[in-house]
Each structure stands twice: as C-alpha cells, then as structure tokens.
C-alpha cells in the first residue's frame, strides 16, 4: 500500500479527531514506522519498540484534541519526542543517556540512512509548524534554527520575541506536551 503524503495524513488525522474510525488504520500504519524510527535514533534498538508503542498510545489518546486543519506531523513528533524523553528519564539511565534522551545526542551514526530520513522529516515538520505562525514569530524561529537572518533589533527585544515565538509554537504543537 502507498504511504500517504503529508496532506493526506493531515486529512486522516482531522477525520480521526472528529470520530471517523475508518481513518485509524491508514494513519496508524503511516505513523508507526515514524515513531519506531525516532525511538531507535534516540534510544537505540533495544528499547525502541516499547518506547514507540508508549508514544503512539499517547498520540492516539490525544487524537480527539487535535485541531482539524492543522499539520499533523509537527504535532505528532512533538508528542512522540516528549514521550521518548520522559521514558528515558523514567528508565533511570545514566547521565549520558539522559542527555541523549533530552535530544542532545543520537543513538545512531550521522550517516545512518534512517537518521537522515528522520532529520529531513523533522526539519520539514518544523518548517510546516513555523509556516502556521504569524510572520514575526516565523522569522524569529527561522533565525534561531539558521534558516534566516536575525532581525536588526536589540538583544533583549530579540529574546522577548524568541520567548513569544516559542510559546506560540508550543501551543501549536499541542500545549505543554509539545515543549
């Protein structure tokens, strides 16, 4: 079966949020490998399956809260990344693993094809989420992640903008869990 593209995924998630159960199967089949990929890249293969399952449970438990019309992948990755981070902390891992789980390190090599694919999709998810923001917030986020020039304003004003842009992005990604 063909993997649905991003627009189709957005549509399926909107349907599921409204209670259309038929959308569950294709959506799960599309999101499951993505969750496994992220869990493997962050935690390594031994804990990936359990972490991905827990993350997917969290995603689908919150499906009814999804706002139809919004892009699903930024919302999905925000929840999954947060869940994986929480699971890694709960696991009582050492400092190195805690840092890795906090998103500061990867469990796979930079040339790993799965990691490259994941990085590309994560970048695209951030771009889609950023595109949904107002112009000033989008410009600020772009400047932060190296996708644009920093606006010519004083440092304290820029910091305020960053804080506001992050708050809006977090809201877009699903509230406090999206952080």
């Amino acid at each position: 079966m063909r993997d649905p593209d991003e627009d189709e995924l957005d549509g399926l998630m909107s349907q599921l949020a409204q209670g259309e159960r038929d959308a569950f199967d294709p959506l799960f089949r599309a999101l499951h490998p993505r969750a496994i990929r992220l869990a493997r890249a962050r935690l390594g293969p031994t804990r990936a399956d359990d972490a991905a399952q827990a993350a997917l449970e969290r995603v689908f438990a919150r499906a009814a809260e999804f706002t139809p019309g919004r892009p699903v992948l930024p919302w999905f990755y925000a929840i999954v990344a947060n869940e994986i981070r929480a699971l890694a902390r709960e696991g009582g891992a050492g400092r190195a693993e805690a840092e890795r789980s906090a998103g500061e390190a990867w469990a796979v090599e930079p040339e790993d094809p799965e990691r490259l694919l994941l990085e590309r999709e994560l970048r695209r998810a951030v771009e889609r989420a950023t595109a949904s923001l107002d112009d000033v917030s989008a410009e600020t986020i772009a400047a932060l992640i190296g996708g644009g020039a920093r606006p010519a304003i004083a440092a304290p004003a820029f910091r305020k903008r960053v804080s506001r842009a992050y708050a809006r992005l977090r809201l877009l990604l699903g509230g406090s869990d999206g952080g």
């Binding site: 209670g19 438990a61 809260e65």
Partner: protein, 190 residues
C-alpha cells in the same frame, strides 16, 4: 515484528477510544450542567432528576463523534425548545381556562397530546438535519434524535409516564419522518 505491530496497534486503538471517552465525559459534564441550570429555571428542581439520562446520552454521542455528534449538536436546539414548552400545551386540560370550566384531567395521562407535540417538534427537525453523505444519513438522523431526546427527557420530570412516552415517541417518529422526507427531497434535487 508482526506481533509487536499488532500489540502496538491494539494498544493505540484502546488509547484512542479511552481518550475519546475521557473527552466525551468532560464535554457531557458541561452540557449536563448547562441543561441542569436551564431545567431548574424552566421546570423546577424536580425535573433535574432526569439529568443522568442527558449525561449518558451526551457522553455516548461525544465518544462516537462523526455524524452522530453533528446531528446531536443540532438536536440540542430542539431539545432546549422543548424545555420551555408550557405544560398547558402538553396537557391542555391543565390550562387555567380548562380548570376554570371544571375540566380536571391533570392527574390522568394524555399521551396522545404529548405524542402530537413531540411529532411536530420532530418534524421541524427536517430543517436542521445535517447534509450528511448518503451512507451516513441514518447516523445523522439518529444523532439528531438523541440530541433532542437528551434534553427533551428533562421535560419528562413534571409529566406522567404516558405523556413521557408520548412526547419521546412522537419526537422519534417525527425525526424518522423528517429524515425520510429529507432523503426523498435530496434524491429529487440530485
């Protein structure tokens, strides 16, 4: 690998249904509280005894979602209107004029009048039926009936059993007739 997928699939599906149920219960709480306040104002505290019916119906409708919920949300409007129907319409012999002329049937059930009022209310729902795809019309009509019934049930507090059955039965019959008429009209215009 396949077993892991199946396990994750079932767990995610269960989480989805529980998530919907949780949201349905919280929304049902809001609707029930609002309905309770409106009922207490319009009909007195006695009628609020039927509030659990509203809560259960609404939790179910929100959990199922889709066209059932779409229909039910519209049905709420009609249900709300039924709360403010004067008793003298549902039970004409209890009107001050009838009482003055010596007629007293306030202690006997008059299901036929209630059924008539219910059917009229139900028929008026044809205007509110959502434009669901053909395969989902029954679901939308059922939602409309449930949404209406969730609030109309509160009207039953001050009524006698026969009247209650009459009002709700009339409503359901009206919704069914209205849905059939709407389907017929849609077929003619298609």
């Amino acid at each position: 690998m396949e077993a892991d997928f199946d396990r994750a699939y079932r767990a995610a599906r269960r989480a989805y249904e529980l998530g919907r149920l949780r949201q349905g219960l919280s929304r049902s709480l809001v609707v029930t509280a609002a309905a309770g306040a409106a009922t207490a104002i319009a009909l007195g505290w006695r009628a609020t005894a039927w509030l659990p019916v509203t809560a259960v119906i609404w939790a179910f409708v929100e959990w199922r979602g889709a066209w059932l919920r779409e229909g039910a949300r519209r049905g709420l409007l009609v249900g709300m209107a039924s709360l403010f129907l004067p008793l003298s319409i549902l039970r004409p012999c209890c009107s001050p004029e009838a009482m003055a002329s010596g007629v007293n049937c306030c202690t006997t059930a008059m299901p036929s009048t209630c059924a008539g009022v219910g059917a009229l209310l139900g028929l008026s729902l044809v205007l509110l039926l959502p434009r669901a795809p053909r395969a989902r019309r029954l679901e939308a009509a059922l939602g409309l009936a449930l949404g209406t019934g969730a609030l109309a049930a509160l009207r039953c507090g001050p009524l006698l059993l026969g009247e209650t059955v009459g009002l709700l039965g009339g409503l359901m019959a009206g919704v069914a007739a209205a849905s059939l008429a709407r389907a017929w009209m849609d077929r003619r215009t298609a």
